[in-house]
């Protein structure tokens, strides 16, 4: 593999972010459609460390929106994603957890994270992660969650909104995957909103 420097990788980044992104530790809760796209966006711009959490393996039905390839089918998502991220940015630190997140382990796994990306598909697990942020342990952390990215209605309905001082939600807050399906365009747009909010937060805290 050809060698590059971190400076080359980040040369086209916004100059005011110099020295900041490499300090950022971001938790990715779920490495599916949202999580894999957010992880790739943050890796490309030189984020310091990603904590990847997912209990699943790649399936053929994931390929319409998730950043995996046919030859990834059957691999753990955290492993398949790590391979791709390392090919983009060899300076990225990665911590992998092949397990389900719950109200207890989430606090241990994401202890080091400055920002956590909620990238689950099930409503119950999404809600669990938001509730964790009521605890004192997470009051200094930020959560960027997602709600409403299904179907193919106007991309311009996808927004980033503030839910609380440390919690943001990206999506149209309306569409649901059971009725409308989920596809790459709107999933990637929502993931882009989440990744962009991470950059704003990192700029603010460092």
């Amino acid at each position: 593999m050809k060698k590059i420097t971190y400076e080359q990788l980040t040369l086209r980044n916004a100059p005011q972010l110099k020295g900041k992104l490499e300090k950022g530790v971001i938790g990715i809760a779920g490495c599916g459609g949202l999580g894999s796209n957010v992880a790739i966006a943050l890796t490309r711009i030189g984020i310091g460390k990603l904590i990847l959490v997912d209990f699943d393996v790649v399936e053929p039905t994931n390929l319409n929106r998730q950043q995996y390839f046919v030859n990834d089918i059957g691999k753990r998502k955290v492993d398949a994603l790590e391979e791709k991220l390392k090919m983009i940015n060899p300076f990225l630190q990665i911590e992998k957890h092949y397990e389900k997140l719950n109200g207890k382990n989430v606090k241990i796994i994401f202890k080091e994270a400055h920002v956590i990306i909620e990238a689950f598909d099930k409503v119950s697990v999404k809600a669990m992660l938001v509730k964790v942020f009521t605890g004192n342990l997470f009051k200094e952390k930020y959560l960027v969650t997602a709600s409403g990215l299904a179907g193919y209605s106007s991309a311009n309905t996808i927004k980033t909104k503030k839910l609380a001082k440390n919690i943001f939600v990206c999506g149209d807050n309306k569409t649901d995957f059971i009725a409308e399906g989920v596809m790459a365009p709107r999933v990637m747009i929502t993931a882009g909103h989440q990744a962009n909010k991470v950059v704003e937060i990192i700029d603010k805290i460092f």
């Binding site: 779920g30 599916g32 459609g33 949202l34 999580g35 990238a119 689950f120 598909d121 099930k122 409503v123 119950s124 999404k126 809600a127 938001v130 509730k131 942020f133 009521t134 969650t145 997602a146 709600s147 409403g148 990215l149 299904a150 909104k161 503030k162 839910l163 609380a164 001082k165 919690i167 939600v169 999506g171 807050n173 309306k174 569409t175 649901d176 995957f177 059971i178 989920v182 999933v187």
Partner: protein, 77 residues
């Protein structure tokens, strides 16, 4: 008393305009508010409650002019 009420996500509440002032009884808790608004029980357990931009428990007593936000995420990811 009047509170400012907003809801996001899967919630659709009949006869209540989103982002508007509504009247609730003095001493009303967040849990009681959800019951008054006829939010389905199976939805209530997944709802996050924010009062004045801070997440609060269901037992929190709402005060006059509080900004109350209910969030029920939609699925997909």
């Amino acid at each position: 008393m009047k509170i400012f009420f907003e809801y996001l996500g899967l919630l659709h509440i009949e006869d209540i305009k989103n982002k508007s002032y509504i009247d609730v009884e003095s001493g009303c808790t967040a849990a009681e508010l959800m019951t008054v608004l006829k939010i389905r029980k199976e939805h209530q357990k997944f709802i996050s409650i924010f009062i004045n931009d801070v997440e609060k428990s269901r037992q929190t007593v709402i005060k006059e002019n509080d900004k109350v936000k209910l969030f029920l995420p939609t699925g997909g990811g």
